[in-house]
């Protein structure tokens, strides 16, 4: 229950590096999102003037993204500041980005806008999404992905997380939903750097946290389960460097302060 306010620079990085990448998973796992992107072939750059950027590629019904501005984008959405980007991503109507390039691609913009709304509904767990098992599964997968991918940004710039990291051992952690294909996010923290990925970890992680199924992951991601009891009964398995898992769990909760301030 830490009331240290979110750092706008960290929030901006979270939107770019943890939230936008979830589009790929959304489109891969959600028929509605897949339909939206069918036939859309474009590269969209989200860029903060004098700051970070991320490129999102829509190709043949799939989405991928990469940090930075790609060459020859179809659309460039320019934000005047990190605060501007944060306001836009948090749903402020007045915070529309400047269409620096590609403003005439109305179909892409409309399609992407609807896709972004779907992502928001899934990540925030809107009732219409989580009222079904499929929606809860999707929410769990994407929440896990965003939480893991958000760790490097928190480690780099969030005061509360940095303090927590000070007492954590170095190493790699992986979080996975055992019953799901390809639902693994990993985070690797070394002395000077940290990185994360949504894939099988590049080496054996020092600690592996496995949620038995999507419903357990769903409940855990929403803080609706007694994780200590779930761990003791085997619904959640923690294998290896427990202090790292415990600390990262705490830091992941800090993500809520950023992305779901009303619920933190």
């Amino acid at each position: 229950m830490n009331r240290v306010p979110p750092n706008p620079a960290v929030l901006c990085q979270l939107y770019l590096d943890a939230v936008l990448p979830c589009l790929s998973e959304l489109v891969a796992e959600d028929a509605f999102a897949r339909d939206l992107t069918a036939g859309l072939n474009a590269s969209i750059v989200f860029r903060v003037a004098g700051g970070p950027a991320r490129s999102v590629h829509l190709r043949d019904g799939a989405v991928s993204s990469q940090p930075g501005s790609c060459s020859h984008p179809s659309i460039v959405l320019l934000f005047l500041s990190r605060a501007h980007l944060n306001a836009f991503f948090s749903g402020r109507k007045w915070a529309l980005p400047l269409l620096a390039w590609g403003g005439w691609r109305i179909r892409v913009l409309k399609g992407f806008s609807t896709l972004a709304e779907r992502l928001e509904a899934v990540l925030e767990g809107h009732e219409a999404v989580i009222s079904t098992a499929a929606g809860r599964r999707l929410h769990a997968r994407l929440s896990l992905m965003a939480a893991g991918l958000g760790l490097p940004s928190l480690a780099a710039g969030d005061v509360v997380s940095r303090e927590a990291f000070r007492s954590l051992p170095y190493g790699m952690a992986s979080f996975t939903i055992s019953s799901e294909q390809g639902a693994t996010v990993w985070f690797d923290r070394q002395l000077d750097t940290s990185r994360a990925g949504w894939s099988a970890p590049p080496r054996q992680a020092e600690v592996c946290i496995a949620f038995g199924d999507a419903e357990t992951a769903f409940a855990a991601m929403r803080d609706q389960i007694d994780t200590m009891a779930a761990t003791a009964s085997g619904q959640i398995v923690v294998d290896g460097l427990i202090p790292l898992a415990d600390g990262l769990n705490f830091i992941m909760q800090r993500l809520r302060v950023y992305l779901q301030p009303s619920k933190s």
Partner: protein, 413 residues
């Protein structure tokens, strides 16, 4: 988990019921999640001497000793008799009983720098009260402690994350064990506002190897406290009466202003104590201290008997010898199987880690294998030796360890 279901069938069954009505199922330091879920028993049935039995009937040589309190062995007949006899007279009455006076006198005579003693029930009762006494005595706010040290479950020191607010620790500052520069930096920054320094005699952080004080560490801390009028509080809750009956500071050659005891003081009966210098007496008298069961006589009677036996039998020396033979045996057997085992901490409160084991999996597997064979080794928390551990127990344990090392080797872990 599946492989151990049969062995811990009743434990898991009870846990299933517990998790319906108890947060965490089992909470705190004995929570299964803090060890290795499924690889250790969850519930105990009975205990005697150096052994205990879980609810599935599995027998263990106990190297946790109730996480420390059992120093003479489970259900020690003389201690139980003393407690039962006291309970026949009173359990919970409107006043303290004479035994409280006798126990305070006994403790004060045991710990040479002390002029007074107070009694509580748990370690946290004492450490939290002690920092208040330090603040009252000095009229200052800051408390320095070692990063990663455990001093209890109150907001100023809990290792947990939940339910805390920033203000809980505004005046609590950490330095690193054996790092006098980090200590001196805090001294410099807060010099006129430091009320107390609270430390354990050696560093026993959970999950990690214990660390003994380096040469000059304690003398430097002690001298700084004396020079700056800072109250030096020794949290001897875990090690007290196991290393030296007069307080663990005797072993390390310094003298605190306050010392907190618990665990081994009454061989498992609920009791804690803080003793202090004469100069702290007025402050101690001003800081409110009470609890519903704190005047209860049976635990005090148990403590009187426990202290008498500890003294008569020079138990700390015995614990040291027993711990030494266990540690040496583990190192030797590990070496035979190609493992470098690192013993840490004093022999009476020992722990082991393995070289080249950053994930702790080797240690976890080893402890689980030894436990499965009948000697309870915790993979993440220091162990405790008690006077009931016999040479035969050590021999049996080392044979189990030999088999466990062989399992590790076979699995190439």
């Amino acid at each position: 988990m599946t492989a151990t279901k049969d062995r811990y069938h009743r434990s898991l069954e009870l846990f299933e019921r517990a998790s319906q009505v108890i947060p965490c199922g089992i909470y705190g330091h004995t929570a299964p999640a803090a060890a290795l879920p499924g690889a250790f028993p969850y519930y105990a049935q009975r205990a005697a001497g150096s052994r205990y039995w879980d609810v599935d009937g599995n027998e263990y040589i106990d190297y946790m000793c109730g996480y420390g309190p059992v120093v003479l062995g489970h259900q020690h007949p003389e201690i139980e008799e003393a407690a039962v006899r006291a309970q026949r007279d009173t359990l919970c009455v409107n006043h303290p009983t004479p035994i409280m006076v006798e126990l305070a006198e006994s403790l004060v005579s045991l710990v040479d720098f002390s002029a007074w003693a107070v009694l509580g029930k748990n370690g946290s009762d004492m450490t939290s009260w002690a920092i208040q006494v330090a603040r009252e005595h000095t009229k200052r706010r800051k408390i320095l402690k070692v990063s990663g040290a455990y001093h209890g479950m109150d907001p100023w020191c809990t290792p947990g994350h939940a339910g805390l607010i920033e203000e809980d620790r505004v005046h609590i500052h950490d330095f690193n064990w054996n790092d006098l520069d980090s200590f001196d930096r805090l001294l410099k920054r807060y010099r006129d506002d430091i009320a107390g320094v609270i430390m354990t005699p050696f560093h026993h952080p959970v999950f990690n190897a214990s660390q003994m004080p380096s040469d000059g560490f304690w003398p430097h801390i002690e001298a700084a406290c004396r020079r700056d009028g800072i109250v030096l509080i020794l949290d001897d809750i875990r090690a007290g009466f196991r290393l030296d009956l007069r307080g663990s500071h005797k072993l390390f050659g310094f003298e605190p202003d306050l010392i907190c005891f618990c665990k081994a003081i009454a061989n498992g009966h609920p009791l804690a104590a803080t003793l202090g210098r004469k100069e702290m007496r007025v402050a101690a008298s001003k800081v409110f201290l009470t609890g519903s069961y704190w005047n209860s006589a049976p635990a005090m009677a148990a403590a009187m008997k426990c202290l008498a036996i500890l003294r008569a039998q020079d138990v700390p020396s015995q614990l040291h010898r027993t711990g030494e033979s266990l540690m040496q045996g583990l190192v030797e057997r590990g070496r035979r199987h190609g493992y470098t085992v690192q013993p840490s901490g004093p022999a009476a409160v020992p722990f082991i880690t393995f070289d080249s084991d950053p994930s702790m999996r080797r240690r976890q597997r080893f402890c689980a294998e030894v436990t499965r064979r009948g000697a309870f080794f915790h993979p993440h928390h220091n162990w405790f030796i008690c006077a009931a551990h016999s040479s035969e127990d050590i021999k049996t344990t080392l044979a189990m360890a030999d088999e466990a090392f062989a399992v590790l080797r076979a699995e190439n872990l």
